[in-house]
């Protein structure tokens, strides 16, 4: 049988504490964490996630949303949807949590060298893509044109608005945002995010797309990108499934032959397209 030396239990978190927290929009908070003791650098890659433990309540899979070059703090942007995420969003400076991770496969930033990049985000999906955008901008010279296309339901639900504005001011980045409905006071686009793909500037034969959002949105975006001539192998999506371990042991995150926690969450679309277009897989 395989040899197993005494190993740490991957199900036991490491203690962290909240360094600062800010409310982004209604129901979405960004929290920065630092180790409760010691200063072991935390190395993660854009697209990876942690299992974040709210004391006594439970754990949730949460993607890195900060700059992965910063190995001192861990930044997460969390949408309050249930017990665990509400518990995490209610934490303030000095409060303690447990963190396990990082888990999963990252966005293919290295493989995308030399290509045009199309980043497509829906709603909270911008959070897991933000580290990728930081990574692209940090090595801007490596890539061709970069487009960031962002859609949300309403102007009030647009995440990281200040940052979007700042990025928009750059000459080396195309940033477009759209909302499904507007209540006035919005001078940007109205409509679904797929419409932005039509207008974005990229060479379909030499582009890599990174998409994160609701599954149906990712499917429509991938289809639109394929219409524009992109190969599904160059389109990457980030999948969400129920997760109880993050390490391939609990079985919950299975998606056809894939374990989303370790084979994903980022997948090349050609790998998952056949099962993503079926219901209830």
């Amino acid at each position: 049988m395989p040899e197993a030396a005494a190993v740490a239990d991957p199900m036991v978190p490491v203690p962290y504490r909240v360094l600062r927290q800010r409310r982004e929009i209604d129901g979405v908070h960004t929290l920065d964490f630092e180790p409760a003791e010691g200063r072991t650098p935390f190395r993660a890659l854009p697209g990876q996630f942690n299992m974040v433990y709210a004391y006594g309540i439970g754990e949730a899979a949460i993607s890195l949303s900060g700059d992965c070059d910063d190995t001192k703090t861990i930044r997460h942007t969390i949408r309050k949807v249930g017990a665990v995420t509400a518990g995490l969003c209610s934490l303030g400076k000095g409060d303690s949590v447990g963190i396990r991770g990082p888990f999963g496969r990252p966005w293919p930033l290295d493989e995308a060298r030399g290509a045009d990049i199309v980043v497509v985000a829906g709603g909270i999906g911008l959070a897991p893509l933000r580290p990728a955008i930081y990574g692209l901008l940090a090595k801007r010279e490596r890539y061709g044109r970069i487009a960031v296309l962002y859609g949300s339901r309403s102007p009030e639900e647009l995440l990281f608005l200040d940052e979007l504005k700042r990025w928009r001011g750059r000459f080396d980045l195309e940033v477009e945002a759209t909302v499904d409905h507007t209540t006035g006071g919005w001078f940007g686009q109205v409509g679904v995010v797929t419409a932005l793909i039509d207008r974005a500037g990229f060479d379909p034969d030499n582009a890599v797309a990174l998409i994160c959002g609701p599954e149906i949105m990712m499917r429509f975006c991938a289809r639109e990108l394929e219409h524009r001539g992109m190969s599904p192998a160059d389109i990457y999506v980030s999948m969400e499934r129920n997760m109880a371990c993050g390490v391939g042991h609990c079985g919950h995150c299975q998606f056809g032959p894939e374990f989303v926690c370790k084979d994903g969450p980022v997948f090349a679309y050609d790998r998952v397209e056949p099962i993503m277009t079926l219901r209830e897989v």
């Binding site: 004391y55 309540i57 499934r241 371990c245 391939g248 609990c250 079985g251 370790k262």
Partner: protein
């Protein structure tokens, strides 16, 4: 493992107790078959007297019955309802306790004493199931230390089947009926005019060193032939069969097959099949806090892809319908498992067929999809 296979020995049935005593002396807790509550159950045993002497079982779709045979045989039954999984991968396990102390959480890894088992009577199919769970919990990147520690300490005494159960199909899955590898000691029960005895083979250094201390002579060619004849007879008597040729691909491309709806009309999504399956490994985690002192705990429990919240994400279940849950189960076992772990997830033990309350039969369902392969 890796030991040179030594010449088979023969152990008199009356001396079986010596083997048990030797294992106990080596610090092992014996877990073996016991006839209890109308079924064979793998439970702590003290000695030979606890074994199901003269008991056999009848198994069919949704049916299980123990029969008294009046024979001297100790191991004349097929798969027990529960497998060894419950000892290596316990149904409920505490993962940690935690308390808040000086502005941080202190996690206490459970330093429970790890049991040192000796399993008595592991069938060939279950040896293969253990090898499968080794790949899930030890050979898959991250190690589950709870499983690994129990597994490392365990001593496996295989007993080759002397009869095939009504729902068995290990020959189809290439996992039996003869134990080929993965055991420390393998026994074949022989009852004929040469007496009641066991052919004893060793499969590891640990097995060899235990066997060397027993009063067991080198086996005669007649003993070796008799054991081979038993395995051959059992192989020819399988209650079920499954054509696995190209099956992973056939299932993977028939996810929209109407037969999934037909199964869903019968399936109760009760999870029985996954609980009795020796290779199913899924679990859920439960985090709690004590109202008294505020300490928190994390527990891990067996879960099943048939259960209600298994695939829950915000907004609802990914797999809401019974159709999609049965499809997940069958395709995971017989198709996707190959991609994930390099083998089938099914060892042909027949438990899921026997213990399905409505008699759904994995071999029939897979065959039905194959017969009407539409893709």
């Amino acid at each position: 493992m890796g030991a040179i296979v030594k010449k088979p020995r023969v152990l008199d049935a009356a001396a079986l107790g010596e083997l048990f005593e030797a294992l106990k002396a080596a610090g092992h807790t014996l877990i073996g078959p016991v006839p209890r509550d109308g079924a064979i159950q793998y439970q702590p045993i003290d000695g030979v007297a606890d074994l199901p002497a003269g008991w056999s079982d009848f198994q069919d779709k949704g049916r299980y019955r123990l029969n008294e045979t009046g024979e001297a045989s100790l191991f004349d039954y097929a798969s027990a309802p529960q497998s060894w999984k419950r000892y290596l991968h316990p149904p409920r396990l505490k993962l940690f306790s935690a308390r808040r102390e000086k502005g941080r959480i202190r996690f206490d890894d459970e330093a429970e004493p790890i049991p040192k088992y000796a399993f008595i009577g592991v069938r060939a199919c279950d040896l293969n199931a253990i090898a499968i769970q080794d790949r899930v919990f030890i050979g898959n990147g991250q190690i589950d230390p709870h499983y690994a520690a129990r597994r490392e300490r365990a001593f496996l005494v295989a007993v080759n089947c002397s009869r095939a159960g009504g729902t068995c199909f290990c020959t189809s899955m290439g996992t039996g009926p003869r134990a080929e590898t993965g055991y420390d000691i393998a026994l074949t029960e022989l009852i004929d005019d040469r007496g009641h005895r066991f052919l004893l083979e060793t499969g590891s250094d640990a097995g060899e060193s235990i066997a060397a201390g027993l009063d067991a002579a080198a086996a005669a060619p007649e003993d070796i032939d008799a054991a081979a004849a038993i395995s051959e007879r059992v192989a020819g008597n399988m209650g079920r069969s499954l054509d696995t040729e190209g099956l992973p691909e056939i299932l993977a491309k028939n996810l929209s097959h109407p037969h999934w709806d037909a199964v869903a009309e019968r399936c109760l999504a009760c999870s029985n099949c996954t609980m009795v399956c020796p290779s199913c490994f899924c679990t859920s985690v439960e985090d709690t806090t004590s109202l008294e002192d505020g300490t928190a705990e994390r527990w891990r429990d067996w879960d099943s892809c048939f259960s209600g919240r298994f695939s829950y994400v915000v907004g609802g279940q990914v797999r809401d319908s019974t159709r999609s849950r049965y499809r997940q189960w069958l395709t995971h076992k017989l198709s996707y498992w190959h991609e994930q772990f390099g083998s089938s997830g099914c060892v042909g033990c027949g438990r899921c067929i026997t213990w399905c309350p409505v008699g759904i039969d994995i071999t029939e369902e897979a065959a039905a999809i194959r017969a009407t392969d539409e893709a």
